[in-house]
């Protein structure tokens, strides 16, 4: 019971539902869900936002956000979001996708949504592994990384090399804001939130395609403790997937923010 003497210092963003998440201990999705929720709150767009969830650990995102949501087929979230945004340009439309979804089965959809400069926002969570199906090799799994489908470590001669999606997408003229951030420590979490906010503002200002790639820990499928997994992000993922702004269009740099 809140009394006059008490003050709320921390609470769930109103853009998130009270549902318990299915995320494993130490998983980065919970942090990222919260950051997106906080940004939607701060921008005051909960009622005018439509989310598109994907397949993988992000499959239940629609349960956790208190806004209208669609659940897309595997990899097709950018196409579904395109359909929604084209008929409702007055709404804020974002997808929430993992690396298996976006960088493997859905490469065509993300590349072409980006190339068209669709005025949508993509939250791209990269944990270098297929989480939901139990830790198989993802297109983003590091060379030598042991997964259930690369039990001897990813052999690049047989399984090819990881894809740096943000670098690839940043080469497309249609993109306006492409950045990579991480969630392995509080400072980076704060930077991630700022980037998510800029991405949404890019869309609200009608400036085109925005994507925030977020490096995120998956301790269960990496066979690490939660703390070890954060170190793994910092020491292994960040060197391969450098943090930073891959593309910030002049229009985004100069946009007025609310």
């Amino acid at each position: 019971m809140l009394t006059d003497a008490m003050e709320i210092v921390w609470q769930r963003p109103s853009s998130l539902t009270p549902a318990l998440t299915h995320y494993c201990p130490g998983c980065g999705h919970g942090i990222i869900n919260r950051l997106v929720g906080e940004v939607i709150d701060e921008l005051g767009i909960r009622e005018t936002t439509i989310g598109v969830a994907s397949v993988g650990c992000s499959v239940f995102a629609y349960n956790y956000f208190d806004c209208d949501f669609a659940e897309a087929a595997h990899g097709r979230a950018p196409a579904m979001a395109t359909g929604i945004k084209r008929v409702r340009p007055d709404r804020t439309v974002f997808t929430y996708q993992g690396d298996g979804d976006l960088a493997s089965i859905g490469t065509a959809e993300i590349v072409h949504a980006a190339a068209r400069g669709e005025n949508i926002t993509v939250i791209f969570v990269n944990n270098a592994v297929y989480g939901m199906t139990g830790g198989q090799m993802a297109p983003t799994s590091l060379p030598g990384m042991k997964t259930t489908s690369s039990p001897f470590g990813r052999d690049v001669h047989r399984a090819g090399f990881p894809i740096r999606m943000s670098e690839m997408l940043a080469t497309l003229d249609g993109t306006s804001y492409i950045v990579r951030r991480s969630t392995h420590d509080p400072g980076n979490v704060n930077k991630t939130k700022k980037a998510i906010k800029t991405a949404f503002q890019t869309q609200i200002n009608g400036l085109g395609f925005s994507l925030v790639e977020i490096l995120s820990a998956c301790p269960v499928n990496w066979n690490l403790t939660a703390e070890e997994a954060l170190h793994y992000v910092e020491e292994k993922l960040v060197p391969y997937y450098p943090l930073g702004d891959l593309k910030v269009a002049e229009t985004v740099k100069n946009m007025s923010v609310r």
């Binding site: 009622e47 806004c67 929604i84 084209r86």
Partner: protein
Amino acid sequence: MTKELWKGNEAVAEAAVRAGLHAYFGYPITPQTELLEYLAKRMVELDRVFLQAESELAAINMVYGAGSTGARAMTSSSSPGVSLMQEGISYIVASGVPCVLVDMMRGGPGLGNIAPSQADYFQLVKGGGHGDYHPLVLAPASVQEAVDLTYEAFDLAMKYRSVVIIAADGAIGQMMEPVELPPMRDIEPKDQGWELGGAIGRDRRIITSIGLEPAELEQINLTVQARQALMQAAEVRYVERWTDDADLVVVAFGTAARVAQSAVREMRERGLKVGLFRPISLWPFPTEQLAQIAKKVKRFLVVEMNAGQMVEDVRLAVGSEPSVAFFGKMGGLVPMPEEILERIEALELVPVGS
């Protein structure tokens, strides 16, 4: 109203526009490409949504998104493209999202060719994707009928929250015929209580096809089945000609029925009791109506531009007693009336009065 000469693909596109088409997403494939090209111009002129997708996979998922907002959305393709769309169709049906799909069928399997075919019967009628479902499938036999069914398809999609498929073929898409186009409709979107549009002053809504708990997924299935039951009760469509006194009834749909009709008419002129039964709704199939005919008629000839895919449904309808013969052409060949005549002659009917 005066009739105008229209190419099938363009007439279907204009019918969709006049039915209130809000958003079209498509990918080029012969023999339906003129439909996409026509809308590329027309939709932009009308300040509506036209988008050429990167693939049929993307096109159907864009339709899924647009349809999720309650907008009248459509895509069109031809057989190999429709194979790619099957994933999306399964999701769309499970989510109860209305949309229209036009299939101008071509020869298969594989890359096949660009000639007219009816070999998509199974993939359209039997639920070509995973899971238990049937879309509403309507098969026109002329450009005019393609126009009329397309015009109506959007209302049916909304009514049943289902995918409605116009199952035509390359012949109907490519040929020109005189048609009377319906009037332009002004569609005022009305909230039905399920569409996504932003949770302004209401609880959030979710469009999804997932039901992780088996009991939950059973409910999704029961809802799909209930919608289908309504379609089965109200949307069976067919045309019967000369079946009252027939000794033999030819069963055919779409272009094959058009050809068969010439052969049947010729037989009637020769005094032979041959009738024609043309299903318009391939799903729901006019099972009861064929069963009624089978009480009197003991011989059927199914004519299709495939290897006999509809024969299974005809056999199920007429039971085991009547004989069910089949004549078909594959590979994009269209049967000639004379060929059908020969088949009927081979069944040795006795002329009237002999």
